[in-house]
């Protein structure tokens, strides 16, 4: 799992920014940012309820919007757990790219 606490102090993107992109990119206009908890499961019947096609769309959105490539699905199971873990991953990658 990604260390979300460590990254909170130096956030590059926020969970709200990510949620906006998810709502816009996946056509979930009926869902508001405040209805998606930071720790809510993105996939599966509990939580936001995204499916396997959404997972592929999400990787493309993250690459386009934040310039971060997710190359390994094994790795992405943790990354995609919740908005928190996804933001932590994006920020960590962006920080690494800067160095």
């Amino acid at each position: 799992m990604y260390n979300t606490k460590k990254l909170v102090e130096n956030i590059l993107i926020t969970t709200d920014e990510l949620k906006e992109k998810i709502i816009e990119g996946l056509g979930l206009e009926d869902i508001g940012i405040d209805e998606i908890d930071d720790d809510m499961a993105l996939f599966g019947e509990d939580g936001l309820g995204l499916d396997s096609v959404d997972a592929i769309e999400l990787t493309l959105i993250i690459e386009k919007e934040f310039g971060v490539k997710i190359k390994d699905m094994g790795e992405s199971e943790n990354i995609f757990s919740s908005p928190n873990t996804l933001v932590a991953y994006i920020n960590e990658k962006q920080e690494l790219d800067k160095k």
Binding site: D30, F43, E45, G49, S52, V53, D54, I56, K71, M73
Partner: protein, 382 residues
């Protein structure tokens, strides 16, 4: 032929698996049944409404002599239709597909699809079985991972149009000319087929099929004309395709009643037949939407909505957005005093279809227009 589990990096045995959950388990079990002539009911256990429906059926109806698999597909009346297939159906069909590969040699199949539908079973499992090549499988693929696999010479990729579109969007500099992609029934738009071929120097063979008929025709990249498979005979009635072939089901289970199927089988695909070997697909008269790889009857969803309090009538039209990975969106027109709330509908759909995110847009404040015989034919804005 062996199964390679890419997640756990090991070969796995073909064996009986009670209540298979992962793709690897599904594949192992399906091949075990196929090899040992064991009948099995194949369906997507992640769809609660389908599971409930199948459990409600009389078990004597499900087990029919001489059949290999019973699949469930979304019926146009709203209830799932059971489609029985024999082993002979699958073998003859696989041979017809292999013939279209010509002299090309493949050393493995990589599949992104599950084994809960006929496409996964017949193309992702039976074809490699007949070719006697290994099946490489992973629970979830990302587009980048699929490119890495397709870069390896002699790989036959069994996938869906979603991945073709996704690969076009990432535009990676990769030469995939040593591999061939096969995609399922949903059409790959002409421009996407062309772009894919030019970007990756490979081809996508698009299989045109249905659960009832099995394979009917195929086309490559940006071709518009479908060529029929060996053994398939086509004709039309009211511009809709009729098919006879050795891959056709002989028995279906419709609305809980067994029916014999006599060829030619009438599809709901609107076509222009060019000659006895070629046709063009012009559209689909059917009310079936394809969402996340699953066929869903719009009539079934209309029924779900109309069962809600305060809803008088619902009409669903399928809208296509070819740029999106989920390219079929449901426009839902609702006749109701208080309107239909999108969040509530999303919750109800989840209860029926499980973890499937259906793309839809609701239009409240309309009056549904009916024909003289009561059929919903359109709407008027109020």
């Amino acid at each position: 032929m062996k199964i390679y589990d890419m997640d756990n990096k090991c070969y796995i045995d073909i064996k009986e698996v009670k209540n298979p959950k992962t793709k690897v388990e599904q594949l192992s079990h399906v091949l075990h049944c196929f090899e040992n002539d064991i009948f099995e009911v194949i369906y997507d256990k992640s769809q609660p409404a389908l599971v409930k429906y199948i459990k409600s059926l009389n078990k004597d109806l499900l087990y029919q002599d001489g059949m290999q698999f019973l699949y469930f597909t979304s019926g146009t009346t709203g209830l799932p239709t059971g489609v029985f297939k024999t082993k002979d159906n699958s073998i003859k069909q696989a041979k017809a597909l292999i013939k279209t590969l010509g002299d090309r040699k493949f050393n493995r199949v990589v599949t992104t699809v599950p084994f809960v539908h006929i496409y996964g079973v017949d193309i992702g499992a039976v074809v490699p079985k007949l070719l006697d090549i290994d099946i490489w499988i992973k629970e979830n693929f990302l587009p980048e991972e699929l490119i890495t696999e397709a870069e390896k010479e002699g790989t036959l990729i069994v996938t869906t149009p979603v991945f073709i579109k996704a690969l076009n969007r990432i535009k990676k500099d990769a030469n995939l000319s040593g591999s061939l992609f096969l995609t399922s029934t949903a059409p790959v738009p002409k421009e996407d087929g062309k772009e894919f071929h030019e970007q990756y120097k490979t081809s996508v063979s698009q299989l045109f099929a249905s659960t009832e008929t099995g394979l009917m025709g195929h086309k490559i990249d940006d071709e518009e004309i479908l060529k029929i498979y060996d053994g398939v005979e086509i004709s039309e009635k009211y511009n809709m395709l009729r098919v006879s072939s050795p891959f056709l089901t002989q028995k279906i289970l419709k609305d809980g009643v067994l029916e014999d199927v006599k060829p030619p089988f009438q599809t709901e695909d609107i076509v222009e037949i060019l000659n006895d070997k070629e046709f063009k697909l012009l559209g689909r008269s059917s009310n079936l939407a394809k969402i996340a790889g699953k066929r869903i009857s719009t009539q079934q969803i209309e029924g779900i909505i109309e069962a809600m309090d305060d809803i008088d009538c619902a009409l669903i039209k399928i809208r296509r957005d070819e740029r999106a990975l989920k390219d079929e969106i449901l426009d839902i027109y609702v006749e109701s005093k208080n309107g239909l709330d999108a969040k509530f509908l999303r919750k109800i759909l989840k209860e029926h279809f499980g973890a499937m995110n259906i793309a839809f847009k609701i239009f409240n404040n309309v009056k549904i227009v009916r024909s003289s015989v009561g059929k919903k034919i359109g709407f008027k804005e109020l």
